[in-house]
Symmetry: C2
Subunit: 350 residues, 2 copies
């Protein structure tokens, strides 16, 4: 028996997967015999299925049941499908999916946009979805200090992309208006245009040196900036449709479902899924099947993620979590459309 899948075996495998995706039930030889255009009897199919099982592509849950795809089986199916999708794409054959157009209604706030995206995607696919806010790089555009109360200093840092961070700092001694003015000049001339990472010891010494008596302020301000740098919570994660998980019996056995929903509610663990994997393929699509996912709780799920981009390399991620028998084709299609919408939405909002 050859190790490689011949064409007929592949065809049968695909038929099995596709059928299982639909029904969620183990699929038997007779079904396949009718399902495909191969015109083979169930007996022949049985022989082939026996081979496929031995090769690890399909699994028999128990004697005298049909077969279901193994992770390996899903994987080949997905890979094969992706190949087709790529070809399709290159033909620019952009089929417009009937995604509802709620997305583009005027949403000023990014948060709301992303939340809506997650929601829409969930209701469209019937899986759980997650969307991460875009990760910007942290280049300082502008710094503004000003006095609020006698010894409270408002300190605002504007980053590229007009994201604003601020904090109120308590001082031990009062600053004159003139002092503040000078400090503003100092910080802006030294730090503007730098990314947070680029501020090194040299820069710090330079500033502290020029600040003279106001070294205290420098310290506090730099602290704020450090805070900005460490602010990974910058990346917010929005989820929706967590309960869709309950719709799939294979995931909804009591504890399993709660665990999954908890992970979605807590969001922290999702970071590993949404974090840059620099998707090997240029589509930016990443498919984790079963154990492939970095989140242990999801070992019986599949996760499909796709990154969306905002011009200058700034990017975020959209993801879908469902049973292994998720409708990969539909999911990828949906993700693509959403990606497009997000891309344009952000371009317009800019």
């Amino acid at each position: 028996m050859e190790q490689e899948l011949d064409e007929r075996k592949l065809k049968i495998l695909k038929a099995i997967v596709r059928n299982y995706l639909e029904t969620g039930e183990p699929v038997g030889s007779r079904t396949i015999s009718k399902y495909t255009d191969l015109n083979l009897s169930s007996a022949t199919i049985r022989n082939e299925m026996s081979d496929l099982e031995e090769m690890g592509y399909i699994i028999q849950p128990h004697t005298s049941a049909g077969r279901i795809p193994s992770d390996k089986g899903y994987r080949t199916y997905v890979d094969d499908m992706m190949k087709e999708k790529m070809e399709e794409m290159s033909k620019q054959q952009k089929e417009i999916s009937d995604i509802k157009d709620t997305l583009l209604e005027k949403v000023e706030k990014v948060e709301e946009l992303l939340q809506n995206t997650a929601k829409m995607l969930a209701s469209n696919t019937n899986y759980a979805t997650m969307v991460s806010s875009p990760r910007f790089d942290k280049r300082i555009k502008f710094i503004q200090l000003s006095i609020v109360d006698e010894n409270k200093l408002l300190c605002v840092v504007v980053l590229d992309g007009n994201r604003i961070k601020n904090k109120i700092v308590n001082l031990t001694k009062e600053l004159s208006d003139e002092d503040v003015f000078k400090m503003n000049m100092l910080f802006n001339s030294t730090l503007n245009g730098l990314t947070v990472e680029e501020i090194n010891l040299m820069t710090i010494r330079q500033i502290t040196g020029q600040a003279g008596e106001q070294a205290e302020v420098v310290g506090k301000v730099l602290e704020l900036i450090a805070e900005v740098a460490g602010d990974n919570e910058d990346m917010k994660i929005y989820t929706s449709g967590a309960t869709n998980i309950l719709k799939y019996p294979e995931l909804s056995d009591n504890n399993h479902a709660s665990d999954l929903i908890n992970v979605l509610e807590e969001k922290k663990q999702l970071t590993s899924l949404l974090t840059d994997k620099e998707g090997e393929e240029n589509t930016g699509i990443q498919v984790y099947i079963g154990n492939e996912t970095p989140v242990q709780t999801m070992k019986d799920c599949s996760v499909v993620t796709m990154t969306y981009e905002l011009g200058e390399g700034v990017q975020g991620t959209i993801g879908i979590i469902g049973p292994k028998r998720m409708d990969y084709e539909k999911v990828v299609e949906n993700l693509k459309t959403v990606k497009d919408k997000l891309d344009t939405a952000f371009k317009q909002g800019d």
Copy 2:
């Protein structure tokens, strides 16, 4: 038959409720006969139960099953319990519950604090929990305008409690540094100390008049302020333990559970629960039983909320969502402890 509950009936009712809280099963006459210290035979209890049912305090799910409390039954139980609690409280009998002390570990960020609170409360009670961030009133403390780019104006509003709102505004024409300085003076002298609601037409006319050519800027800034005012999203809601709902069979029948978890995931609808009800009782505790809740999805749940306070009337709300047969006593106890912790945490953090 008198309409009022005599002492014996009340005692029996309480026994029924308490037993049902524990077991979740309809409770029969024999159980009560042994459970109470009344020394009555099951037959007598049966008679009393029959009365209680007719009076609407308990319900028989089907012939030949025990009784379960009706909403009315729960209500009297809770009211009675609260009365006792109040007396207890007045005796300063502060029993320290064994709530884990995770709460007070150093959390700088309020968000994280609240998130942790929700989580801890959920794991302690086994119900779903929600915590709203405190609602401050919106008194303007300080306004700061400054130029970022040629025609982009950074506009920062500092509110009481040092909360900071900001936005970047696009201008059609350039402003000189001097212009900005003047505008700053103008806004601060006019608006500082006012609450957002107090800015009326008079104030606006006054500013616009003095601004002269810079009327455009005034408009934009006032817009930001209006945004601050309308910013109800200021109130963030944190939930945890949504899946605890699945632990109670009476809530976990398929659609029911999903609907509930969805409401918790979406958070919007929770506002009505967490919004100021000016808790009639001075404890700030509010108990919604079954249909009493404003959220229709929760008609088979009970919701207990409690407001916590930060000195100057600024307050937020903690809430617990569970089955009607929730352990009200434990819940109230937990809420009280958490409230205390939050109160002190905020006081320290100030």
